[in-house]
């Protein structure tokens, strides 16, 4: 909880740091802020507690999700070196401040007890992201992406708010535990038939949240926005925002509406299947590495939804493990993308196609190895964290006796095979094709961050219990 307060203060602090006109201090300061927030976060460990007139509720699950979010943020901040060095970003302090604020929003989304907090958190996160998406001011695509994201995003938030209002009308509560009780009463009285207001409310809320985690068919904004935004913020969006969105959905479904499984269960299974199919199949056809990563993030939303739906005690740990594995691997991949695309820029524009990676194993063997490990992890191949992420998800889904999950699993397995296809494209480009022989240099902090992410990915792929038993 203190993490939220601290991060808000740190955000304001970062703004003031901007007055110092010292760019060098921003990155370490933000890293330290995030680390402090991470430490404060664990003060809530093993205390279930309600805050601010039962607006927020901290428990171990929320602490864990907050930790995953803060770790992802740390990694994103660590690879932000060089961002804002050009003239276009004349006030980099603002971006770090907005980043801090958006993390506050993300943490609220994983700790909310009152639906209003879910809405406020989502808005804080979204508005920050609209700004960051458009932060590459001179780039037309960045502007387009920001406008698109803003229009679509505000529409989705509107739908979510509409859903919240309807649910409040039907249950008389904003409290997720209160709503859960009201739904249970309704179930006991009416035998599983719910009024149209409650049903519509649940569906509309889910639509709003699914938009944020870019599940199909609410994903159409994702590729353009992810592609147009500066790579650094795309990395942030596809990890922190996704984790927060999935956690919020999981919290809502498992606490407020578990008794309405009959209403949202099957539609969500279909949405998951469509998300998996659309994300993976479209990723195959991409020529741009960045766009491929955007579609891959859609497909991973699908895998995460499988375990959100599976409703098992172990599901908590599976979602957390998968989010962590996915976030670490994605941030490594984006870090490599940032370095390589800058080094290979054509006519002032960074080259984000697969061809930019050609011959990377000769130009910088370290980056090529990092890229290979992160791709193998995203593809879910053993010795990497991604494998156990998938493994836990498959186990969860299989434990669910409902036969529809068996079909969903077959889809998931087929799509994993498709995933291997496109995740190997960058590896093939880096190791087997030859490109120009210009060496690519990376700064020390980049290097240490990537060493850390790579070691974490392999370590979690050998000994997943190190982290899993904490969850």
């Amino acid at each position: 909880m203190n993490a939220i307060i601290a991060l808000s203060l740190f955000g304001i602090g970062s703004l003031f740091l901007g007055f110092l006109n010292n760019r060098k201090i921003l990155l370490p300061a933000t890293l330290i802020f995030t680390l402090i927030a991470l430490g404060l976060n664990f003060a809530d460990w093993n205390h279930e507690y309600l805050w601010f007139n039962s607006m927020l509720r901290t428990n171990n699950l929320s602490v864990n999700f907050t930790a995953v979010i803060l770790i992802s943020t740390l990694l994103v901040v660590a690879i932000s070196r060089g961002f804002g060095d050009d003239k276009e970003h004349s006030h980099p302090a603002e971006y770090y401040a907005i980043l801090m604020f958006s993390v506050v929003g993300a943490i609220m989304m994983v700790t909310y007890e009152n639906l209003l907090m879910l809405f406020v958190g989502l808005e804080i996160l979204s508005v920050s992201m609209y700004v960051l998406t458009g932060s590459d001011k001179r780039n037309l695509r960045s502007n387009e992406a920001a406008l698109k994201y803003f229009l679509m995003g505000s529409f989705a938030t509107g739908i979510l708010l509409f859903g919240i209002a309807l649910v409040y009308g039907a249950t008389g509560s904003f409290d997720i535990h209160g709503i859960g009780l009201a739904v249970r009463d309704a179930k006991a009285q009416m035998g599983g038939i719910y009024g149209p207001i409650l049903t519509a409310g649940v569906i509309l809320m889910l639509v709003g949240l699914l938009f944020k985690i870019s599940a199909a068919p609410f994903h159409f904004w994702t590729p353009d926005v992810y592609d147009g935004a500066p790579s650094l913020f795309t990395a942030f969006m596809s990890t922190v925002v996704k984790t927060a969105g999935v956690a919020a959905t999981y919290r809502l479904l498992s606490i407020a509406f578990p008794d309405m499984y009959g209403t949202w269960g099957n539609p969500m299974v279909y949405i998951t299947a469509v998300t998996l199919i659309v994300g993976n199949l479209t990723a195959v056809y991409q020529q741009s590495f960045k766009r491929m990563l955007a579609y891959s993030s859609i497909s991973h939303a699908g895998y995460l939804l499988i375990t959100v739906l599976a409703k098992r005690p172990e599901t908590n740990a599976s979602i957390l493990f998968y989010s962590l594995a996915y976030s670490i691997a994605t941030i490594s991949a984006f870090a490599v993308l940032i370095v390589v695309s800058e080094a290979k820029s054509k006519a002032g524009k960074p080259d984000e196609s697969f061809d930019a990676l050609n011959g990377l194993s000769k130009n910088n063997p370290f980056l090529a190895f990092v890229l290979a490990v992160s791709m193998l992890s995203l593809a879910g191949i053993p010795l990497t964290a991604g494998f156990f992420g998938k493994f836990f998800i498959f186990t969860d889904a299989f434990s669910n006796p409902s036969s529809i999950f068996k079909s969903l699993l077959v889809v998931a397995v087929l799509m994993s095979a498709v995933g291997i296809y496109y995740y190997f494209k960058p590896i093939i480009a880096a190791y087997m094709r030859s490109g120009d022989t210009e060496k690519i240099e990376i700064s020390p902090i980049f290097k240490y961050t990537l060493i850390l992410t790579t070691i974490l990915t392999i370590l979690l792929g050998i000994a997943p219990d190190l982290v899993k038993k904490l969850f």
Binding site: P382, F398, I420, M432
Partner: protein
């Protein structure tokens, strides 16, 4: 502990190799591979011929999910551990005349591959097995895709996706079995899984059979899942081809013995005939294509496809002769195919060609090579007193007991095998010297060091097959008792 050192030694060796440059990497890799061979020999001699799992160790791996790092060696594992430890040193020696770029990585990958293969053959926990089964693919993929021929990128990519796709179905089957085990945390060791398998009905077993069959049939490969195989064998560098055909192919047959037979006996009863028919189609089809090949490497690739078909047919026949034959044939085929591919490599290095039409008359300058070639060829065509004979005889006997017609058609392998193998030897070694085979240089020391022991093993195993058969028999009998 011995089993763990068998897995760890190649990993350590691989890491050491990575830290060295060029020529040194070769030497370090081969020294460690021979050290591993000595370790393997020690395991062979201290193995007590009974049905128990020996040298077993078990540690908690993923405690919360009941998954253990559990390894051990029984008779069935032993023969494959022997094959792996025996072949890898010779595979490394066979590359001594090549100068690969990034040699340290190349040799490190071979050693990592060896570790993964030993892991596959010794795992006693289904997920540990799966873990190694998948990892084994990665080094060999990179070996083939980086150091391979012209079309390597496309061909090896197909191979990788194809086999990964199959393995994913196996993962589903394994997770399904694991979920059925009692307890909240479940169990994943072989014994618990075998116990659970007894409670499954025919429908469940059929699905599991399908999932396992796809995974292993792609890996071996069986007809009609073989389309990745000839191209990959041809494009991979010879050391990669040796690893693929000599050892990795046996992961599939090992999987059939370890998983399909004991876990889905009812389904094997029902669908075994289909699998045997597919295997036999593979035998005849592979042999006929092999007869028409012009490229020596491709010819051996198809012959390997035909041989593995017979092994699969023997295993699916589900009797002691079929399985014993498959086990001894796995070892024999590994030795023969590594030798044959090496001879092709020698010829290619000196003449820059593998095409039968352009070769001929090599025996006039290098009679030594011809002798080795003929010994290995005889092993491959199952001449009595060679290693191939024992295996094929038992396999055919097993298939014949299952179904006389199937046995009769499978028997064609001996005739057809003789046709394509003799044709290959005749066209390359005998006849008139062609322009490119003139002045064919004599064998170097490192080549002799590989070919002599391999030829020795071909004959030795043919004369005394019992030194392996008696070790595997108790384990196979126990396996058959599980099935019944």
């Amino acid at each position: 502990m011995l089993t763990i050192s068998l897995i760890l030694l190649p990993i350590i060796a691989g890491l050491l190799t990575l830290t060295n440059k060029g020529e040194n990497a070769k030497k370090i890799a081969s020294i460690f591979a021979f050290a591993e061979l000595i370790l393997g020999g020690y395991v062979y001699y201290s193995f007590i011929p009974n049905a128990t799992t020996q040298f077993a160790v078990s540690y908690d791996w993923i405690h919360s999910a009941g998954i253990k790092f559990s390894v051990g060696i029984d008779g069935i594992s032993l023969i494959l551990v022997c094959l792996t430890t025996l072949m890898v040193p010779f595979i490394i020696l066979s590359t001594f005349n090549n100068n690969y770029k990034n040699a340290p990585t190349f040799y490190a990958l071979i050693l990592f591959m060896q570790a993964a293969l030993i892991g596959v053959f010794t795992a006693r926990d289904i997920f540990l097995f799966y873990f190694f089964f998948e990892i084994a693919l990665i080094p060999v993929y990179f070996i083939a895709a980086i150091w391979g021929g012209e079309n390597r990128i496309k061909v090896t990519f197909k191979f990788f996706i194809y086999t990964m796709f199959g393995s994913l179905f196996m993962l589903l089957a394994l997770v399904y079995l694991y979920i059925q085990t009692p307890g909240i945390a479940h169990k994943a060791d072989f014994e618990s899984i075998y116990a659970v398998a007894k409670t499954l009905d025919i429908t469940q077993q059929s699905y599991l059979f399908g999932a396992f069959f796809i995974a292993f049939a792609i890996k071996m490969p069986l007809f009609p899942f073989h389309t990745w195989q000839p191209d990959t064998y041809v494009e991979a560098p010879t050391a990669g081809t040796m690893l693929l055909s000599g050892i990795m192919l046996k992961m599939g047959t090992y999987g059939l013995i370890r998983f399909i037979l004991p876990i889905t006996p009812l389904a094997v009863d029902k669908y075994g005939m289909v699998a045997i028919i597919l295997s036999i189609i593979g035998i005849v089809y592979g042999s006929i294509i092999a007869i028409q090949q012009k490229d020596m490497k491709r010819l051996i690739a198809y012959s390997s496809f035909a041989h593995v078909g017979l092994m699969a047919a023997g295993i699916f026949s589900g009797n002691i002769d079929g399985i014993q034959g498959a086990l001894i044939q796995m070892l024999a085929h590994g030795i023969n195919v590594v030798g044959l591919f090496f001879i092709v490599e020698i010829i290619q290095q000196r003449t820059n060609s593998r095409e039968l039409a352009r070769l001929g008359g090599i025996t006039q300058t290098t009679p030594n090579l011809t002798v080795y070639f003929i010994i290995l060829m005889l092993g491959s065509v199952a001449m009595p007193l060679t290693n191939g004979f024992v295996g094929e005889f038992l396999l055919l006997k097993g298939v014949f007991q299952y179904n006389a017609w199937a046995g009769a058609i499978a028997g064609l392998t001996i005739i057809l095998g003789a046709v394509y193998m003799l044709r290959m030897v005749q066209k390359s070694m005998f006849g008139i010297t062609s322009r490119i085979t003139e002045g064919f240089a004599d064998l170097t020391l490192s080549e002799k060091v590989v070919l002599f022991p391999l030829s020795f093993m071909v004959i030795g195993l043919g004369i005394a097959p019992n030194m392996f058969l008696k070790l595997t028999e108790p384990a196979v009998n126990q396996l058959l008792s599980i099935i019944k």
